[in-house]
């Protein structure tokens, strides 16, 4: 097998997840707690990359996300830069093809992303911050984690062979 093939497989999985985010998500899921396929793609990439690559990917994804919801332009970029870097750094302790560990990892990343974005944007305060972080963010993180598990089940063979970038 050529060395580039596993990377292409990882890229294909990422592309499928990004396509699902824009094509599948609006058709099937209610908006508020819909799974964030782009975050799953970012984490799948970051966990198989160097921390620097994860940070760059997080920054770019965050910037593009901010562009379609420009309430606080830059807040998502900050959050995803940190999440991408941390995912790349934490890969040493993450069993990337274990379903339970992946679900917990994605759940935690989604919740931390929300926390960082809230802090960076300063869009919500006091009581609503608690509601967001204790009720809405966990629900959203749960659906994202479920999506990650399904994606891992579907593409486990391809992702297992993906090397570090």
């Amino acid at each position: 097998m050529k060395p580039a093939a596993p990377r292409l497989k990882l890229a294909a999985v990422v592309l499928v997840l990004v396509a699902a985010h824009f094509a599948l998500r609006p058709r099937l899921f209610p908006s508020r707690f819909a799974p964030d396929f782009v975050l799953v793609a970012l984490l799948f990439f970051a966990i198989r990359s160097r921390p620097g690559a994860g940070a760059v990917a997080g920054f770019l994804v965050g910037l593009l996300t901010d562009a379609v919801a420009p309430t606080t332009f830059g807040a998502t970029a900050i959050a995803l830069t940190i999440v991408g870097y941390a995912a790349g750094w934490l890969k040493a302790v993450v069993f990337a093809d274990n379903l339970l560990v992946t679900a917990v990892f994605v759940f935690a990343a989604s919740w931390v992303r929300d926390l960082l974005e809230l802090v960076a944007s300063n869009a919500l305060r006091s009581g609503s911050l608690g509601t967001q972080l204790l009720l809405q963010s966990p629900a959203s993180a749960l659906s994202t984690a479920a999506a990650a598990v399904v994606a891992l089940l579907l593409f486990r063979g391809w992702l297992r062979s993906a090397p570090a970038l």
Binding site: R32, A55, A69, I78, T81, A92, L124, S128
Partner: protein, 294 residues
């Protein structure tokens, strides 16, 4: 399998991370004049295919829902077919009584709301219609239940709406009948973004719970008479000066899937009759205004 246990971050990774972090902070600190064109540029270029796919997906979902609704309506209509002449006559009488002039027959553009995954969805909304569909900045955006916000940026086929939940949003408001005026904004604090507050009501005026509040038309952006919400109670008062009231919103941006963007041609019109006859209007909003004490 443990992936890359031997590959902790190097100094180069840390530098890259810090550069990305600084760039993110710079983006966050950009002034509005730079931030808006930058975001619009990304939407027009890199994000154009993604937004187009998402727009198509949203339309597809809506069409599917419409088909189900149409089937139900068709079945109901088949049953009610025998009563059509009577219904037509009754309808004509009601139209005459209400003096409905079909104010929304023209002067608006329909659009789907492309909800995003981020936390700020609901503060701003991305719509599937833009400049080519006739949308211009500052256009009011409404749902059948009431005001949702106004257009803040327009691209070729998309536009960004500042919803009333946005911290910077303000609209001049009045109690139905135009006797009492104030300014409506989203409620900041414990219930931020979920409810509104009506500020600047003169101290001599007291609004009982259930009083409908609509746009006043002052300022020339929002037409007069678009429902905003109903009074839930008084929040605060500055003795001898003004009162602030809590409002339950007529329409919530996070729940909107399909909206109407009003054109500038209707900015000076009275919209109240149109909303009185729209389907799906909440009971609280259509209810007769309780008496207002002055």
């Amino acid at each position: 399998m443990t992936i890359g246990a031997e590959r902790y971050g190097t100094r180069a990774d840390t530098v890259v991370f810090l550069v990305c972090l600084v760039l993110s902070l710079v983006a966050l600190a950009l002034p509005e004049a730079l931030r808006t064109p930058l975001a619009a540029g990304l939407r027009r270029t890199v994000l154009l295919p993604a937004v187009a796919v998402e727009s198509q997906a949203a339309s597809s979902r809506e069409h599917r829902q419409n088909i189900l609704a149409l089937r139900a309506q068709r079945d109901s209509l088949a049953l009610a077919a025998t009563q059509v002449p009577e219904l037509q006559a009754e309808n004509a009488q009601l139209r005459a009584l209400l003096q409905l002039r079909g104010r929304l027959a023209t002067g608006f553009v329909t659009a789907e709301v492309l909800h995003q995954a981020g936390l700020t969805d609901g503060l701003t909304l991305l719509l599937s219609a833009g400049r080519d569909e006739g949308i211009v900045p500052l256009s009011p955006v409404v749902s059948p239940n009431g005001l949702l916000g106004m257009v803040m940026a327009v691209d070729v086929h998309t536009s960004v709406v500042m919803a009333w939940t946005h911290p910077d949003f303000r609209v001049s408001a009045m109690v139905r009948g135009g006797k009492i005026f104030g300014v409506v904004a989203s409620r900041r604090g414990e219930t931020a973004g979920e409810v509104m507050e009506l500020r600047g009501v003169a101290y001599r005026d007291s609004l009982p719970p259930g009083t409908p509040v609509v746009t006043s038309g002052l300022g020339g952006v929002f037409p007069r008479g678009i429902p905003l919400g109903t009074v839930q109670g008084m929040l605060s008062e500055s003795a001898g000066w003004e009162r602030t009231y809590l409002l339950r919103p007529a329409a919530h941006p996070a729940q909107a899937s399909h909206v109407l963007v009003l054109s500038a041609s209707v900015a000076g019109e009275e919209m109240e009759p149109a909303f009185d006859t729209m389907p799906g209007r909440s009971d609280t909003a259509t209810a007769e205004a309780p008496s207002v004490r002055r």
